[in-house]
Symmetry: D2
């Protein structure tokens, strides 16, 4: 006979907002518009816990995921679809008012060098969450973090065109309903187009010359990169309902520290 | 003649919530109740940027800190005091509506082994922020993250007393006004008292036996640890006005993943 | 006309042992015995640089890899095969006496829960290198890092059976020729069998009870886990020529620090 | 009566090269030439374990350190002196043939901005080890890792002076006897002088213009930075007996990956 500790009364009757598993790894295959992605996300699944229950049945959280993903040859249409199914499956195993599942992973995509037109393989970081709340439609949050660069316009203006250049990281996070979330590729393009230049895994000398000239023609503060991301996202996703957050971070080449800028815009697509 | 790029109009007139420096290192000495702490924080200082200004004068953010901390032999009464002075100094160099300064650092304190009564040196992680907002009193946020452990009561109840044990991390974050913020030592005690047992840098055999027995007498789920932190904080800081957040994370010894629990309580001290 | 800076004389004529790219991401598919793996490694490729040459043509290092891996649908028989081809390709583009390519990645595999016999997905960290040195056969180094646990026998012996338990990490690194390197699965089994117990993504209560009992029947110091890995590897790979290194690390549940043990054995298979 | 598990025979009689504690934190004050440093190192202490003993008495390793450092107000002349005392103390508590103690920490030092002559606080990473081996004098290894930058001379030569610039990290590691090890400040100066330019926490516009011009006058490949470190170290420490290793790593601003260079020189001072 099993003693169900989780269903006992807790010593302190305090409601908990999130209880669950974190840092769990899994494997998912998706295919969208004929492009297949093999993804190895780090997973967090959590639910709320009412004040009068001692604990969550953690293994049911893991099972809700392994059951959905047990067939490693199954191809899913999107990670959001997987997350919705896992939360729907979980709601049949465990009570909750608010459940959330989050995937953190590296996302690979192809690009082309600007002059030599060679195909390259690029990678960025993505976080994707889905939230199921009682009586509300699913909400998703997706963030992409992409590497680019900044070229300081302030130094350039005061130094006869000489300036400092550095690696930078741009992030775009969007929050919205299932029909409103853009695909990752569109979000990556928004961020890449907001730097002094995109970066590439491979650059032959003719490409390097081209990129370096382009960077000098487009000097940007970290504030400019952040505003570019917000503006480009606002234009690109104008027909959707999204709350959008951006951060730019510049790994200053003349300092040991970084500089950052953060902002937020909202679209009310109609 | 200096060209002041920062004061130009930006291409996209979007207000930015936070612009500044991150990952800057400094050195601070504090002394409270006769105990001196030498702290090497990683610093983030940010201010908001209105929609019609292109950039922040980043060097003024750094200077506001270096001027306050230039004398490395100066002893400060607390980190909150340092943060208030830096933000006050910054407001004379640069306009802002909302300024924030955050220190992340390791905080050392002494403890005593439970039986052999040897003195030990323990370390935890602390994050401490101060926010200065136009027309409002200073707000502070302080978080301590302390290492302890959990002993699974569910397995113990179903397995003739045998169970699994693991390292765990407990966090307490408090938010409040300058007079309401507790000192770090009190916050650390709240978290340490919430685990199955405290942990120690040094344990002689008699201590190890004592600690292991104590752990088995106090089996706790990660949910229990989180609620303990919230309850102990609510009792200890009952006479203050604080919003308090806790997280417990258990590095499961029978899994590769972790389990977590998060919650929040508020005190309205009077 | 291109100025070939790399072929100039350097200011200081010092030979460099390794020059190249690091932290490059790529995507590889392998299939061995019908099991397909999709791998997203972080890549380091380096070559030596003689004292009288200023630099390495970095883009050729990247190209040697992108050319081999440009077809993302191509299935390779092993990562070692890919690494040999990349180094062979590179030797046609760039002179070197010693070239090395290293992949760091997460490796997923399936397991089964001990009692309920449910299929689980487990992940460990792998590092795999190949070295091509003038006039010598290829040398490979492969390391697997797997999560398990330890149960302290010293505390158990002095405490009427009560003890502390914790998560642990076991590593096995092997060095040898192309025919001698074992597959990852065999190395993972060696490490998993060396802990107090294996760990699982999913455990139903009957599994948890089983695992916890098994752990208490098999108390091991971190020294024992390290020696188990070395001994199990020596037995399992007795018919190969390998230099083998092991490390065990235990995330002590009664301390904030870890304890470690390292050792080395050699097999001369014949 | 204590059961001394550690002194039992192990199941597998394999000698272990390193057994001990890792990731232990402590607090040390040193003073050299009137400059006081407060250091919070992460500590690793290990000893070898013969094939016929089951385990190490871990608490004696911790005690050998806490006893030496129990008085937090005591000022030591150097970290090497502390490490020698800890290992000497340990050899009275525990048998070993080879003992090693390693400190990893952040080291702060003051600098001056190049034009405005303002005092700044800079921080770099240091690793410092001492090894005590039976019948041999103490051996020390010290590594400093300092942030600087690179300016690409190849792009500059092929692009009418335009080029890409980025943050870089330079490391110097020295290995030698107690009288041969240089102080950290001298090692940091060697690395700082090897970049296209030093970096600073604070730069007023006149400093930024100066630094940016200096960088463009001193374009360096990552290979050049590595050779500069080795050459500057060889000259500066010519009168000592040292084996010296350097690494330069450049966080390329036009790529997502880094480029690295490594080398080694030896001085036989007499």
């Amino acid at each position: 006979m099993v003693i169900d500790t989780q269903n006992e009364r807790p010593k302190h009757r305090i409601q908990l907002s999130k209880v669950g598993v974190k840092n769990l790894k899994t494997f998912i295959v998706t295919e969208r518009s004929g492009v297949r992605h093999h993804i190895l996300p780090e997973v967090e699944i959590t639910i709320d816990l009412p004040a009068d229950l001692k604990g969550v049945h953690m293994s049911r959280l893991v099972e809700s995921m392994t059951e959905e993903l047990s067939d490693q040859f199954r191809v899913h249409s999107s990670l959001e679809e997987v997350q919705i199914k896992v939360l729907d499956g979980l709601s049949e195993k465990h009570d909750f008012k608010r459940g959330e599942i989050k995937f953190d992973f590296e996302f690979g995509y192809t690009s082309k060098t600007p002059v030599s037109k060679k195909r390259t393989w690029e990678v960025c970081d993505v976080s994707a969450s889905t939230i199921k709340e009682e009586g509300r439609p699913f909400i998703h949050e997706v963030e992409v973090r992409v590497i680019g660069n900044t070229v300081c316009p302030h130094c350039m203006a005061n130094n006869e065109g000489l300036t400092h250049i550095q690696r930078a990281i741009g992030s775009l996070r969007v929050k919205g309903g299932t029909m409103d979330i853009p695909n990752y590729g569109a979000m990556i393009e928004v961020v890449e187009s907001s730097f002094s230049s995109k970066t590439y895994s491979l650059l032959k000398l003719e490409d390097e010359v081209h990129v370096t000239k382009a960077m000098h023609d487009n000097p940007l503060l970290v504030e400019d990169v952040c505003r570019n991301i917000l503006q480009h996202a606002r234009e690109r996703f104008a027909d959707r309902n999204l709350e959008m957050f951006a951060e730019a971070r510049s790994l200053e080449s003349i300092h040991k520290h970084d500089v950052i800028a953060q902002g937020r815009v909202v679209t009310n697509g109609e």
